[in-house]
């Protein structure tokens, strides 16, 4: 691809990306291109390969075959340069409950090599942006699930990543908390500068937030495009559920996500 023809370098590009667990292809020959500044959604039921894809793109899991470039670097050949340019919020509520919000953020700032003065200044700013300004010195185990999630997004944004990966960012959250997370992500898009790749099994979330979507089914990409275009291709009144049924022959709710929700809720309970 010549730069004179297409000057935009994709934030994420994968080519036949594949990951096997034993003989099962969790992700099978996935080709993705995500343009900078987009909120891109991986939509699919449990077991579709969303989390495995995110784990490969965040260098946590080595691909079995195929390749992936994130922020211009190959995830297998140059993982450190990829890590410097990405932020990651795992599916589980993973902020450390035994630390305060500020301490969680400081840990990130230091691990990413941010100068002391810079992370000291930016931490209150990032917490304020996520609506947690008043809770900086509170132990995270006293936070609600929604607050923990917002803290994690603040943590993942602290070092100004080029690409932010969110694995099921609102799973297990109540509707109010879910909407609060959505609002922050929309603010982030308005400000620009960060590409977001999120996985979700929630059609409303995908519809509300994503500029573009890839529907995954059994490790393969069924279809991709803008939510409006995908719906229009199926019919005038079509929903994303119809799109999924049309291209994948099933429903998004199949392979219930109850287990995940329950696990996340347990985590919230453990944290008080």
């Amino acid at each position: 691809m010549s730069p004179s023809i297409d000057p935009i370098i994709p934030a994420v590009k994968t080519l036949k990306l594949t990951r096997y667990y034993g003989s099962l292809a969790a992700v099978d020959q996935l080709d993705l291109t995500i343009l900078p500044g987009q909120i891109f959604g991986l939509l699919g039921p449990n077991g579709a390969g969303k989390s495995t894809t995110i784990k490969m793109l965040t260098t946590l899991l080595a691909p079995s075959s195929g390749s992936a470039m994130v922020a211009g670097f190959d995830v297998a050949a140059d993982p450190v340069n990829v890590r410097r340019r990405i932020g990651y919020v795992p599916q589980l509520l993973s902020a450390d409950g035994a630390l305060t919000a500020r301490e969680n953020m400081t840990l990130s700032g230091r691990l990413y090599g941010m100068p002391h003065r810079e992370h000291k200044n930016r931490i209150p700013e990032a917490l304020r942006f996520m609506g947690l300004g008043a809770h900086a010195d509170q132990l995270v185990r006293t936070f609600s699930g929604g607050m923990i999630r917002r803290l994690e997004i603040a943590q993942a944004l602290l070092h100004r990543p080029a690409v932010l990966f969110l694995d099921e960012p609102t799973i297990g959250l109540d509707p109010m908390a879910r909407r609060a997370v959505w609002e922050r992500l929309k603010d982030l898009r308005r400000e620009g500068g960060v590409t977001v790749l999120m996985s979700t099994h929630d059609m409303e979330e995908a519809d509300e937030l994503c500029d573009a979507l890839a529907l995954l089914h059994e490790g393969r990409m069924a279809v991709s495009g803008k939510p409006a275009d995908l719906k229009a291709a199926v019919g005038p009144e079509a929903t994303l559920e119809d799109v999924f049924a049309h291209f994948c022959g099933g429903t998004l709710r199949e392979g219930s996500d109850f287990g995940n929700v329950q696990q996340t809720r347990k985590t919230v309970q453990r944290r008080g």
Partner: protein, 273 residues
């Protein structure tokens, strides 16, 4: 949230080198110690077992006069062994916290950061070392109350401090290694129980190398705990003597730590798979 200029430049420092390595390790040490500071009950509860060993086992065996300890009383001979044992018994379960952190997704976030894997493991090891100092202080207080004569020269204390940190770091890193291999809490607890007693009994903690059968002496010479006990015996108690020499002891401990650190840093990312 970001200014226009900020957006153009990532905030990540791309430099590498010893200073960056130490900064990343310090980040881990800092959070680990904050957690212990908020809940120090573990350090106190870990002191109960050494009290039983020194006060009951030590005093009974002192009356028997069954173990040749040279000019030292048996309790004085035993005290460094019990300090080493207390370090081993608490550090060997360090890995379970890492399995817990893996289950919560905390390890995933550490591994997605550009921090060196060796720095992450080294930070954990140093934090375990500092926790070991807390235990050493408690055991020194107990030994002092029992009127066993301690050495308080600066050099001897500094040596004990270094040995306690090295021993804690070694067994905590070993524990982390085991956690990365076995991956689940249940299996880890089984393996942890299985390892502690052989490591303890195949060492010079409660009896001298000289009275061991030859095969046990060979095994105990391969056991890092033996060298930890030996250096503590040489530096902690008035009249105590190191069999291998302090230099050899520190050399072996240093080498074991470096090998464990390198191996564990290599397999640490596999704990999430």
């Amino acid at each position: 949230m970001f200014s226009r200029r900020e957006r153009r430049f990532s905030a990540v420092d791309k430099s590498t080198g010893p200073a960056v390595f130490l900064r990343q390790s310090f980040a881990i040490v800092d959070v680990e110690l904050r957690k212990v500071g908020r809940d120090p009950t573990e350090i106190f509860s870990r002191a109960i077992q050494p009290i039983l060993w020194l006060v009951i086992f030590g005093q009974v065996f002192e009356r028997i006069h069954g173990i040749p300890t040279g000019p030292l009383s048996y309790t004085a001979f035993l005290a460094p062994g019990i300090l080493a044992q207390s370090i081993l018994f608490s550090a060997i379960f360090f890995g379970i916290a890492v399995i817990w952190e893996r289950d919560l997704g905390i390890v995933h976030k550490l591994l997605v950061s550009p921090a060196s894997r060796t720095a992450l493991v080294f930070g954990k090891a140093v934090a375990a070392g500092v926790r070991g100092i807390g235990q050493a202080v408690l055991i020194y207080a107990l030994v002092f109350i029992m009127r066993i004569e301690l050495r308080f020269e600066v050099g001897a204390l500094a040596g004990v401090l270094a040995a306690v940190m090295a021993g804690s770091a070694i067994f905590a890193t070993f524990s982390l290694f085991v956690a990365c291999v076995v991956k689940t809490r249940e299996r880890f607890l089984g393996v942890g129980q299985l390892l502690t007693m052989p490591l303890f009994f195949a060492s010079n903690a409660i009896y001298p190398l000289a009275i061991m059968p030859v095969w046990l002496r060979v095994v105990s010479r391969l056991n890092p705990l033996t060298y930890l006990v030996d250096v503590l015996r040489g530096l902690m108690i008035q009249g105590g003597q190191s069999v291998h020499g302090i230099g050899t002891d520190f050399g072996v401990l240093g080498l074991v730590f470096v090998v464990l650190l390198a191996t564990t840093a290599k397999i640490y990312p596999s704990i999430i798979q």
